[in-house]
């Protein structure tokens, strides 16, 4: 099952539509899980604990600031 549509987000105070969010369907979830598993097997599972710790610690501050590969720190 797959549909391309957005869900409307209402302000419960006055029922105004204040935003739209993507609507994920079963297919999208399946795709996301498959992708996550593939990345985990290929990358995360092989990563030493120190690297993954550095990766997690640094990701937040690096996102949007630089395109530098976080694994090379």
């Amino acid at each position: 099952m797959h549909i391309d549509r957005d869900l409307e987000v209402f302000n419960p105070y006055n029922q105004e539509v204040i935003d739209k969010i993507s609507c994920a369907m079963v297919d999208d979830v399946e795709k996301a899980v498959q992708q996550a598993d593939e990345v985990f097997q290929r990358t995360m599972k092989k990563m030493p604990a120190l690297w993954s710790t550095q990766y997690f610690n640094g990701t937040g501050t690096r996102v949007g600031r630089t395109s530098r590969n976080p694994f090379q720190s």
Binding site: N11, P12, Y13, N14, I18
Partner: protein
């Protein structure tokens, strides 16, 4: 439930907040006025059952009602708004019906109780009994029920007399009592001198009994979801 999959479930609660007479009452009042009504009470750890020791009971109720008058009801998009609507009108109608049911069973509305669309007034209920829905079920609305108690033993029994067990709170200046009660309360977490709704992402968060199982909180969630593999090596002599 998914077979052979790790699962964490957070299934809500009816958080007991216990206020002993030696507590800083002003601080406890402010805490409950925030913790019972923030997000219009729609939080799993929202203060729902507030147990107040008998000799400060009347003072507490009066001060709480005064504190709630300071809330500014309105559109949550307006930054000056401090109290907003419930998620849907259906949810507000359901909460209103629980108030009416409690009143029909002998409870008293001290303030609030009225609804306009999705807006349910910040409500305080007294004269309630343990079998009323506003006490024993998860109210998930801006409704706080205040119940009197005399002794520590009695209030521990009352706080534990529930199918839920997510967060609880003890207000007291006596650290020995605080730790004694915290130990005796059957919940996944206990705050001392802070309202039950308080939660930070890094604390281990999750309930017991019907409130669910497994833990949230970054480190604890990772521990919970990690499959530990033992690898042993037998060395040659």
């Amino acid at each position: 439930m998914a077979p052979r999959k790790k699962v964490t479930l957070e299934l809500g609660s009816n958080a007991p907040n216990i206020i002993f007479s030696d507590a800083n009452i002003e601080e406890a009042v402010r805490a409950i006025a925030m913790g019972g009504y923030t997000f219009a009470g729609q939080a799993c750890v929202s203060a729902q059952r507030v147990y107040v020791q008998e000799n400060v009971y009347d003072t507490f109720v009066e001060k709480l009602v005064n504190e709630l008058r300071k809330l500014k009801t309105g559109n949550p998009i307006d930054e000056t708004t401090t109290f907003g609507p419930m998620i849907t009108e259906e949810a507000a109608i359901r909460a209103e019906s629980w108030i009416k049911e409690a009143v029909g069973q002998g409870a008293k509305i001290v303030t609030g109780g009225n609804r306009q669309g999705t807006l349910l007034e910040p409500t305080v209920i007294t004269n309630a009994t343990a079998d009323m829905k506003v006490v024993c079920a998860e109210v998930f609305a801006p409704i706080v029920t205040i119940l009197p108690f005399q002794t520590e033993e009695e209030v521990i029994d009352n706080a534990n007399d529930t199918d839920f067990g997510l967060h609880a709170t003890v207000f007291t200046k006596d650290i020995n009592r605080a730790l004694r009660v915290a130990d005796a309360i059957d919940t996944g977490g206990v705050w001392i001198n802070e309202v039950s709704v308080r939660r930070y992402d890094h604390i281990p968060y999750g309930g017991v009994k019907d409130s669910g199982f497994g833990k949230e909180g970054v480190k604890y969630a990772i521990d919970d979801m990690t499959a530990i593999k033992f690898i042993g090596i037998k060395l040659q002599n």
